[in-house]
């Protein structure tokens, strides 16, 4: 289990280091493999029954692109609409400011406990820890969030934070932490236990905290999409509601839901429609919270917006389809990414939000074989492989330009420079081909190479390598078609 991540101060381990650990956890491999395979198959079915899925994806992409092009205008419009509807809008430059604003609101109401709807934005700011330092206890009410909160762990999936745990593990946790007795590991028993525990919290809490899936600039309506109904409770029962939202979540108009409400449930939970969708517009007399605060947070997002290729990352609607199809995520799990945003989206979002130059986040764009499965399923058509390659370039140039003299001697850098020179000159290239043939003899045994030195040892740890043949193609061509 990990403690520090890319959004905490201090260095973060690299993906390679963390992946090594999770890859050898056979329970994790089994839990994840089963879960992702099931959801993958279901998503494909849910998407397959749509007559024009590609058209919808394109519409989603175009809408989001428009939002990013006019983000400043839409945000001001949103502020105006929310204010008009009786809500209060706060602007937070970074995580710290967001946390301070939220803790301030809670304290203003003298509350010592808050109930929370699952929100990755609050994970990003480490809100719970901040509240705890301020003497406020935050209770997660989403079942999976509750599980990892009780276990003292961090999320490993943006939709199903406890995807790495199976029922037996959850049963044990509930018996230990909630004092549940004679508990079976059937889903209904487990949810009933959680329900009883949470009910008290809902009724007692004076402040509810949520994230937002969307917020409509035109009307000021905020939307939370969920499956369990706990979100509905958090956003309606407590007299005060605070919503923390990344600035990229704004959408222009109410009618845009037509597109997103078709894209999101099918992509995330493989449902035609999710069980609970809550919309609220400011405050309404005699219905729901009496006070509503919307905290709009930047925390690195405007830097992402400034990058022409990276910008599309902000289109993400956090459906998690890219995680579920990712062959890397399926095997390493979310914790290897050391970020609240794991998987393919995390690999492009995290390094952009925290900035290039930290070995942990810098390793994330490399946590991909560039197979493109994520791009294929993304409901808003984020070209994740393109952004990965773009970020690899940024990471490499950052090292080359700021790494000092030591970077010049970095074996990878030296090899890449040498090979680039060789490829630029056909004569050098042919010489290198001949050299490789001669140079391999210490490693070639009985028709295959079983062990390579240095950094290449990773290859031969599990694979044989075919030796370089005696004649290259071009040599054959010269001999046989030379006259052409």
């Amino acid at each position: 289990m990990k403690k520090s991540d890319a959004f905490s101060p201090g260095p973060t381990p690299t993906f390679e280091e963390s992946a090594k650990e999770s890859l050898s956890d056979s329970q994790l491999r089994r839990n994840l493999g089963k879960a992702t395979q099931t959801i993958r198959r279901k998503r494909a079915e849910a998407v397959g029954e749509m007559p024009d899925w590609e058209g919808l994806r394109e519409a989603g992409r175009a809408l989001k692109e428009r939002v990013m092009r006019h983000l400043d205008e839409y945000l001001l419009q949103l502020e105006e609409s929310v204010t008009r509807a009786g809500g209060k809008v706060h602007w937070a430059r970074d995580a710290e400011e967001a946390n301070r604003i939220i803790a301030g609101i809670v304290k203003d109401h003298g509350a010592e406990e808050v109930v929370k709807v699952k929100s990755i934005a609050t994970d990003e700011t480490k809100l719970n820890e901040h509240l705890e330092r301020e003497g406020i206890r935050a209770f997660e009410t989403d079942l999976a969030e509750l599980i990892i909160q009780l276990a003292g762990e961090t999320s490993s999936h943006i939709l199903v934070p406890a995807i790495h745990k199976n029922r037996a593990e959850i049963r044990e946790l509930f018996m230990e932490r909630l004092g549940a007795q004679n508990l079976s590991d059937s889903p209904s028993d487990l949810t009933e236990t959680a329900r009883l525990y949470l009910r008290e919290k809902f009724l007692a809490a004076r402040v509810g905290i949520s994230g937002a899936n969307f917020a409509v600039a035109e009307t000021g309506t905020v939307c939370v999409v969920e499956s369990e109904g706990n979100g509905r409770m958090c956003t309606t029962l407590p007299p005060v509601l605070v919503t923390l939202m990344g600035i990229e979540k704004v959408i222009p108009a109410w009618r845009d839901f037509e597109v997103f409400m078709q894209l999101l449930p099918r992509s995330s939970t493989a449902e035609r429609m999710n069980p609970y969708t809550s919309f609220w517009t400011g405050v309404s007399e005699g219905d729901g919270p009496r006070e509503f605060h919307l905290v709009l947070m930047d925390n690195g997002r405007t830097d992402v917006l400034a990058d022409e290729i990276g910008r599309q990352t902000l289109n993400c609607i956090r459906c998690s389809a890219c995680l579920n199809v990712c062959p890397v995520y399926e095997r390493t799990g979310g914790h290897a990414y050391n970020s609240v945003y794991p998987g393919p989206i995390g690999a492009i979002l995290t390094p952009q939000l925290v900035g290039i130059g930290d070995p942990g986040p810098d390793s994330l764009p490399y946590a991909s074989s560039l197979c493109g499965a994520c791009y294929q399923v993304c409901p808003v058509k984020i070209n994740i492989p393109e952004v990965l390659v773009h970020l690899r370039g940024k990471v490499t140039r950052h090292k080359q330009d700021r790494g000092g003299p030591r970077q010049k001697l970095d074996p990878e850098n030296v090899a890449m420079q040498t090979v680039a020179r060789v490829f630029s000159d056909p004569q050098l290239y042919e010489k290198a081909q001949r050299l490789a043939r001669v140079g391999q003899w210490p490693f070639a045994r009985g028709g295959s190479i079983g062990r390579l030195p240095g950094r290449l040892a990773g290859w031969t740890a599990v694979r044989d390598l075919k030796p370089v043949p005696q004649q290259s193609f071009r040599e054959w061509w010269r001999q046989n078609r030379g006259s052409v």
Binding site: E16, V328, G372
Partner: protein, 245 residues
Amino acid sequence: MRVALFITCFNDTLFPETGRATVEVLERLGVEVDFPLAQTCCGQMHFNTGYQREAIPLVRRFVEIFDGYEAVVAPSGSCVSMVRELYPMAADFAGDGRLAESVEELSPKVFELSEFLVKRLGVTDVGAYYPHRVTYHPTCHSMRMLRVGDAPLELLGNVRGIDLVELSEAEECCGFGGTFAVKNADTSAAMLSDKIRRVLDTEAEVCTAGDNSCLMHIGGGLGRLRTGVETAHLAQILASEAEEG
């Protein structure tokens, strides 16, 4: 028709038999093949690993060398996808409008072998004979970036004597991913082990694909485990013929 063969540095050096097979298949179909000897590498490894400044001269070379051909054919979905899908990004990165124009003109003329045969020439039967049990792994770049679709399977389906068996979860990446296999060797190995399990499930003698890079990775694992299952590039199956007589 006269085409330029882009062999790719990888095949040139490590898999010359694939190059010879490609020439054989094309010539059998009456295509005149030219091999510009100045060619080296498309720059994919550098570009995708982040060494983009270093890749630009290779992009320029490629565009100059293959300029003017009616079509360029390569026995590699991955390298073709670099040219077709990533050269525009490279030209943008170089900030060179002229390069971007040349790329735009050249890239639609660059084909992976199976799509050239099926989509450009309209041939699905190349007259091959290959009496073996074979399973086909659709490599990620051919499938998702180039969208070669069923072209390889159509070609294989018309090979005489072949016993073609479907690979389960075929569309899942084998775990090669270029420098990924070295940088993230452990994750790559975990992906490979699942691919191998599925290949073995088919009881095929041969696993084929349109990319020798993935095949070297899969074959390396199959070999290390002494499974007795071989790998062969699609071009080699298509080039095989019944012995005369």
